[in-house]
Amino acid sequence: MKSVCPGCNFGCGLYLQPKDEEMIALDYRRGILEVDFKKGSEVNEGKLCKFGVELPEYYANKAVSKVDGSEVEFEKAVEEAGKRLAGKDAVFLSFGDSTCEELIALSKLADGKIESGLGALSDIDETAYMCMAVGIPYEDIEKANSIVLINVDPYAQYPLILRRILRAKENGCKVAYVGWRKPRNLADKVILLSPSTWIKTLAELENELSEFLGEGCVVISDLHPHVHPAQVKTALNLGKGNVLFLKPFANLTGLMLLKSSVSDDRTLDNLISEIEEGNVKALFVHEADLIEVMPDSERVKEALQKLEVLVVQTSRASPITEMAHVVIAPEQLWEKKGVVVNNEGRILEVGGERTDGFEALCKVAEALGKEKIEFDDAHKQVLEKVGVDVVNEYTVPAYERKEYPAQSIEAQESDIETALVKVYTPFTWRDMEGQYICLSINTIASKGIMKGNLVTVGANGNEGRYPFRPDDVADDVVLTFGRIDIAKENITPLEKIENTIWTEEKEE
């Protein structure tokens, strides 16, 4: 059946077919599904990144419904969630890893207050919100005169954007990259960020990149709960509306469209702090895992234990499903009826027929005395919000973008000399990136580290030993794509490195 890849918000089309029982037993590959390449998909023309190619592995990891750690029927978990949330002032968290229809049902349950974790972007001028939520069509990248990549290395993050940039280059487009790791030979100009001056560098880019900016310039950045506002503001300032934000969750664009603002949202760090302080006692997490997404997972685990009620509705087994008081395990994304909206605002049918997750949210809402919504009405609301009559995967709806004022960026300098730099790929959010660090050739040569050595890195009072990869990063940067266990902070990409031991110990 036709489906959309859940690996990020790119909206790649593919076909999924359930294997028959004999093949499940015989096939060396895990999972009950087979992937076929959907070459008629306008978004990706049948091309997939590693996540999509190995999608059956991802879908093999199914959650089960539980109450207080014991497996229960789905309906029992839904009923119990309603009972436990009654009378509680719960916070409802979602990163948009589900259909728009489900997000509307969640919004009803949350009285319109779905927390997205995007609180760091709350002070960005509201007029720029639509440009953050919905980017320019992918096809426009191919026609660009110039492209500025802000902390997006297509070889590691959002690989399906790479072909669009390569096609633009064939048409004579010039590419500039600003970020922490040089994207091979893709860019004509590379500005590698340095820990002590990185925000200042972003604030002053307009001068540095003057030859790239102007008519026909497209700016591409990423956007997620840990993104630093200076990066987003820089992209908005340089792109002047001609911006594409790439997002790591299957329908974060849909969530942002339905929310209309993130000005009242908390950062995830603030949310955890409020749980720690006892200000938040009940939490409903929708298709997400706070433990996986926060750098300091131990802190999150301890905080979650303080909650009086933790309800998690998710189709995927992950650390948070081991801790939740109630786990509601509905159908997986590929089985759902409904739509998602991708980075460029294209509305796409997920392809399934089931609405268990939607119905569960409605039943919990009913139990709490809230208004119920029918699936068809939710679907109509989505179409109205996007401004289309029917779902058509071959067209990008026209979105109204307002002009917005330049966003001020405080040109700070930092005293950090050497930093652990966290760069988020869509795979980081599912804890699917390897735990290794990237070092410059100069660092490797000057410290005499041999291939296969482990490097001990200290930060935040902790030490970790990691394999390394030679890479095009600044000499004062230790870069990681994975969720590395010595990291503690979100929002800032940097953490001060306290000590580094260039060990001779071989990797096991």
Partner: protein
Amino acid sequence: MNVGECYLGWSTKDEVREKGASGGLVTSVLAAALEKGLVEKVLVLKKISEYDAEPIITDSVDEVLESAGSLHAVPVGLSKKLGLQLTRLGKKIATVGKPCDVRGMYEMALRDQINIDNTYIVGLNCGGTMPPILTRKMLREVYEIDPEEVVEEEIAKGELIFKTKDGKEIAKKIDELEEMGYGRRENCRYCFVKIPTNADLACGNWGVPKAKQGQATFVEVCSEKGIELLENAVNAGYIELESASEKGINARKKVEQAMIDLASKWREELLPSIPDEERLSFYIKELEDCIGCGACKTVCPVCACGDDSKCTTMISELDNHKISLYHLIRFLHIMDSCVACGMCTDVCPAEIKMSQLQARFSLPFQEEKEYVAGMTLEKPPFFEVR
């Protein structure tokens, strides 16, 4: 009926005959094989639109009948799909297949991925397939028609013809379209195998007399299994046959030769040899955008090593090589078996022309030994890299 004989045939079912591009013979042969128990399952393309179809393995006669009609803008690789189901199950399956699909199936049989004795292959003559999204663009920009208005497409006499809902037929010369960057996939342009005579039946519209164009299929019986398929369909009342004329047989050969001549020209243009002294820098440059997704290996019908293969052990996120050893090992490993189906090129997210690179690597050796991969079950000659 004997191997080597040629017939004209058509479906006896009105609906299938109308829906099928050439009288619905192929669909009816497959449906009859399923209904009468000659096979347990059938692999066909389930049409989603003119530009999209999903390969399905079905035991439903109705689903097979619904699959009638040709799809030139849906370049799906069927051989790998077949292998995933048949590898160890031993079931009898019937399938359609373009020449590259059939060649892929032979290579899979050589690696014990499928049991060819249990596989009934209805081969389809093929002048080439087109990439669907580029085809949509071509329709908008060159044909100036809405892609959604297209109900049928056909390749005939060097022209690409689209028929619309309101009955219009618009034809353009394939040569001119391809010069503009549209038209057939590059692999198809330089492919020499146009009639899959290694299938059990080789079917198409080449050689069908003018009076029966669109109403009948020209079919060559290529094996004993081919006889079984045809006789089963006739006995089940699904198809009618008449002997093909000498004139038709010669006309078919003529079309085939014209297509091969055209392919020779494309081969010279698209697959120039790489000077020895430039080989390393050439491959470094061509492969520099590889993101290591593994899609090329996943779709490759001749890759049979599974996850624990020598090429994949050369991929490590800790390495930062200037050239992909993964690809170099693959070039060597499949140099005697690549059937040039082009699936690897189609699915590459970095748009590396993997299939063309493979062809430029292995064709000099294949041509020297006069060997065409995927045509027989005989062991290939020994290739040495000098």
